[in-house]
């Protein structure tokens, strides 16, 4: 047991941080259940940077807790919580097994062992609606709470050396739906076309926009976004292609490039950002770039109060996902922006389900000016303000004049 190793008291005092994408050290007999107030989360790799940024403050909080995260495909995580219908044991298909990750205060990534009979998840994080997952075509499973968080864009990515700047939807259909046999240059080698599986949100989302069912992708399977990144970086740069959440792509821009994407019915291909060198995700926010999903938090609903999650751990993370509560002095919405996610208040478009067409969106309290300023290398032409006075008919929100 971890407590018996002798280093536990120090770590417990210092605090343990959460998960991320680097490969953790093998579990060394550390039981996740022995960590202080563990909150069990699994799912989207796109959420990794955000969860990592929450870890230290969660531990430092008066109500200290350790985030324990298992990277799974989004839909696999939704299944793990959706099928977990018996609180006393792990029903078939429910819970998570094996090992999970957390960060130590010194920044090192650690692993811990989940329960031998499985561990109930507090929360699943998914970049797609439950109804887009193969197992839940009918929508959100009964007894689950689905909370919409920030937007998580997806990008088709290639090694930086690849001269090709764009992927057209119809090309994506052939490249990922038929593989090398389609002969679409430069993606003419199956061992350089990297895919995930049908329970990966990236594959589900991209599949919707290139009209390929997520279970029919062709190419070389990778087990995680991390593995896909490694293969893209070590493969043939003249022919490689894959897809990653932009929250994971953006920090790798020195080695990888996002391809502009042209949707069906679109005249030009656009990047997620206004420029290949910027980070403001203008085209995601205004509707030129449709490859994105909401980051959903899915948890078992409280039987007595179905509008709230059953566990305290889930409620804490859901409140941070929606920006409902601060974490000490930290603004969780700012943490989302710094982690590459787009708060809904910065969006000008929305959709009610993943297959649904985009439609205009006016957030109740827009934050586009603030978002433009807060992203990496961000700038804004909006006026700074402390009250509504200098904003004409608009409102001062988060320090900048917004139109309404």
């Amino acid at each position: 047991m971890y407590r018996g190793i002798g280093i536990w008291p120090g770590l417990a005092v210092a605090g343990l941080l959460l998960v991320a994408s680097p490969r953790p050290a093998p579990a060394a007999g550390v039981r996740c259940a022995d960590l202080p107030a563990p909150i069990y989360v699994a799912g989207s790799s796109a959420a990794g940077p955000f969860l990592q940024s929450l870890s230290a403050p969660l531990l430092a909080d008066a109500d200290s807790a350790v985030l324990v995260y298992q990277h799974k495909g989004s839909c696999a995580a939704v299944e793990a919580v959706g099928r977990d219908v018996d609180p006393k044991r792990c029903a078939q298909g429910g819970c998570v097994f094996g090992s999970a990750s957390f960060y130590a205060e010194d920044g090192s990534l650690k692993t811990c062992d989940l329960g031998p009979d499985g561990t109930h998840l507090d929360l699943a994080l998914s970049d797609v609606f439950a109804g887009s997952c193969p197992a839940f075509g009918g929508g959100v499973p009964k007894g689950l709470l689905d909370v919409l968080g920030p937007v998580s864009p997806l990008a088709a990515v290639a090694p930086r050396e690849l001269p090709e700047p764009a992927l057209l939807a119809e090309e994506g259909h052939f490249v990922f739906g038929f593989g090398e046999s389609a002969g679409v240059p430069p993606w003419t080698q199956n061992d350089s076309i990297f895919i995930r599986d049908e329970r990966s949100a990236g594959q589900v989302l991209l599949g919707l926009h290139i009209q390929v069912p997520p279970g029919r992708f062709k190419g070389t399977a990778t087990a995680s976004a991390e593995e896909m990144t490694r293969k893209l970086l070590s493969g043939d740069p003249a022919h490689s292609i894959g897809f990653l959440p932009t929250s994971l792509y953006d920090p790798r821009r020195r080695d990888l490039k996002a391809l502009a994407f042209r949707a069906f019915g679109q005249r030009y291909a656009f990047y997620p950002d206004k420029k290949t060198t910027s980070y403001e995700k203008q085209n995601v926010r205004d509707g030129h770039y449709p490859l994105w999903g909401y980051l959903h938090g899915l948890a078992r609903a409280d039987a007595m109060n179905p509008d709230q999650a059953a566990t305290r751990g889930a409620r804490r993370i859901l409140d941070l996902l929606t920006g409902k509560t601060h974490l000490g002095a930290l603004d969780p919405v700012l943490l989302q922006v710094q982690a590459g996610l787009l708060p809904q208040c910065a969006m000008k478009v929305r959709r009610g389900s993943d297959p649904e067409p985009l439609s205009p969106y006016e957030p109740a309290e827009p934050c586009g000016c603030w978002f433009d300023k807060m992203v990496k290398m961000g700038t804004t032409s909006c006026s700074a303000c402390t009250n509504d006075k200098p904003c004409g008919g608009g409102h001062c929100r988060r320090g900048f004049c917004e139109a309404h």
């Binding site: 069912p213 042209r262 656009f270 290949t276 203008q282 205009p360």
Partner: protein, 94 residues
């Protein structure tokens, strides 16, 4: 000229759109007089001869094609003509 190269050319000529093999730019989709003044309202974005949609976008096609100063890429598809004629329905993935 091969068929796969001919189709995009005809398409581009018909639409009146710049058809460089690969054109990346960021300043030709603004409100410079080349965009349509159609205010939309239908199910699609009827761009006609215009480069972009300059009305108030209400539908996905209008949002996707609204005028912008963002960088973009303009090139024809590179799908071999033996696989797709460029117009008909896409074949189902096996």
């Amino acid at each position: 000229m091969k068929r796969r190269a001919l189709f995009p050319l005809l398409l581009c000529l018909g639409l009146g759109v710049s058809c460089a093999a690969t054109d990346t730019g960021g300043d030709d989709l603004g409100d410079g007089g080349t965009s349509t003044t159609d205010d939309g309202g239908g199910d699609g974005a009827d761009l006609g001869e215009a480069l972009c949609f300059s009305g108030t976008p209400r539908t996905e096609p209008e949002l996707l094609n609204q005028c912008t100063d963002a960088e973009h890429v303009d090139r024809p598809h590179r799908i071999p003509s033996r696989d797709w004629d460029g117009m008909g329905p896409l074949p189902a993935a096996p």
